[in-house]
């Protein structure tokens, strides 16, 4: 678990230990708003177990990925501002 991974969150490069979930990586950047609801309200992680769908982010261009269920990978491009 000591190996570190570099990825980009909202354009900012960060380094996280391997095994870190994307939701944690986004939180490490200080971001609490992961996405906008249909009506423009801020949304972020709630259940942490893949059920509530509130923590969705865009990963490598793929919309609506559950950040709490996805492990960080080297070079990953995460957008939590869409």
């Amino acid at each position: 678990m000591s190996e570190s991974i570099q990825l980009r969150v909202n354009g900012k490069t960060i380094s996280v230990p391997s095994g870190t979930i994307v939701a944690a990586a986004v939180a490490m950047t200080g971001e609490t708003r992961f996405r906008k609801s249909v009506f423009g309200q801020p949304r972020g992680p709630l259940c942490g177990m893949g059920i509530c769908m509130e923590c969705r982010v865009t990963i490598n261009g793929q919309l609506h990925c559950r950040s709490c269920q996805t492990l960080c990978e080297e070079g990953m491009e995460v957008r939590a501002d869409e």
Binding site: V38, Q62, L63, H64
Partner: protein, 377 residues
């Protein structure tokens, strides 16, 4: 003897709603009854594809006329009806299906329907997420999609503006041959005529009617704006939709204004319950993924089912029943009821009011099944 109503329509789905709008507009004192909410039955399980079809001249006449009525109504439709003239793209997977594209193009062009033939490159440009080896396709430019329950509600509001009344949560037990209806609570409502617009449930009110329930599944995805641009239907659809035999699936996908995609289709006879059937759902989604490989990565957020009202000759049943000229029918629309609701309402009102009809009425007349429907199978 004076009647409480000129006409009582049973069923507040889109067909009953369209009939009510036309009857009320024609000056008939109209009452609509439904045991459930507006558009809560088959209407809620329709994709809302407004499509011109060419299975027979009669089917073409009704779908084309109906689509024209939708186009005329469009400026009045509220936003929540989500009318979107995205067009239909019939995709051909091979040369055999490409021959069908040519046949359809000729048929539609001869009848004044705007279509464009696309070659393999044209399909790729029109729908980049389709798999790369499509042979071509046919774009039917003026086809559209809408959200059926809100369309039904809008039509009922139109009916009410012309004096119609609506009562939901009222179950009907029987259509009376002397006119009017008997309700489940034992009370009667008198009327000159009644109309059954009860779709797959119509044989319960008019026994012997050759209408069978044909179950279908629908899936809606998360929002992925621009993933598809047309209602895309495989031409193999014709083979599966038209077989009256065993269970079938076909690729049929629709973009919604929200960016969501509605995915169909499945067809099952003798499946009366409304439970989602995982085996056929899996076949349906696998078929969709064969055409749109990227679909497999997206999330489905809801899955549900409904029943179509299938008839032996694949045409709806519109007009006076053979039991009584006081009992009329507007049912049996199978998978085309959202499109054909408006043409049905117009035709029914024309017949009721003795006006000339805008399309030939005979192919839809209930009398064609006087001796049952078996000889059509």
């Amino acid at each position: 003897m004076s009647q409480a109503y000129d006409i009582v329509i049973v069923g507040a789905g889109i067909v009953g709603a369209a009939c009510a709008a036309e009857c009320a507009r024609g000056g008939l004192k109209t009452l609509v009854l439904d045991r459930g909410p507006i558009g809560g039955g088959t209407t809620a399980a329709g994709m809302g594809h407004i499509v011109v079809m060419d299975d027979s001249e009669a089917q073409f006449a009704l779908t084309h006329h109906s689509r024209q009525l939708w186009i005329e109504l469009r400026p009045q439709l509220p936003d929540d009806v989500e009318y979107d003239s995205c067009g239909t793209l019939w995709v051909a997977a091979d040369d055999e299906e490409m021959a069908e594209v040519q046949r359809k193009q000729k048929f539609y062009t001869e009848r004044g329907v705007r279509v464009e033939v696309l070659d393999a490159l044209g399909v790729k440009k029109a729908e980049p997420n389709l798999r790369a080896d499509m042979a071509g396709g046919l774009r039917v430019v003026d086809d559209a999609v809408l959200y059926p329950p809100c369309a039904a509600r809008f039509l009922l509001e139109q009916a009410k503006r012309h004096g119609a009344e609506l009562r939901t949560g009222v179950a009907v037990r029987e259509l009376l041959s002397e006119g009017g209806v008997l309700l489940a609570d034992g009370s009667r409502i008198s009327s000159g005529r009644s109309v059954s617009a009860t779709g797959p449930w119509s044989p319960a009110l008019t026994p012997g009617l050759p209408v069978r329930k044909r179950k279908g599944h629908l899936v809606i995805t998360d929002r992925h704006p621009g993933f598809v641009h047309h209602q895309i239907v495989e031409l193999g659809y014709l083979k599966s939709a038209h077989s009256l035999g065993k269970d079938s699936v076909a690729f049929n996908i629709q973009p919604r204004k929200t960016g969501q995609m509605l995915i169909g289709s499945s067809r099952q006879f003798d499946a009366e319950d409304s439970a989602v059937d995982p085996a056929i759902l899996d076949r349906m989604l696998q078929r969709a993924i064969e055409y749109l490989p990227g679909l497999g990565k997206l999330s489905a957020i809801r899955t549900w089912t409904g029943h179509r009202a299938a008839t032996p000759d694949k045409l709806p049943i519109i007009g006076p029943s053979v039991m009584s000229d006081r009992i009329w029918l507007a049912t049996g629309h199978e998978g085309l009821g959202i499109t054909t609701s408006l043409g049905t309402g117009r035709l029914l009102a024309d017949l009721l009011l003795g006006r000339p009809t805008e399309i030939p009425a005979a192919p839809f007349a209930p009398v064609r099944f006087r001796n049952g429907g078996s000889h059509h199978e």
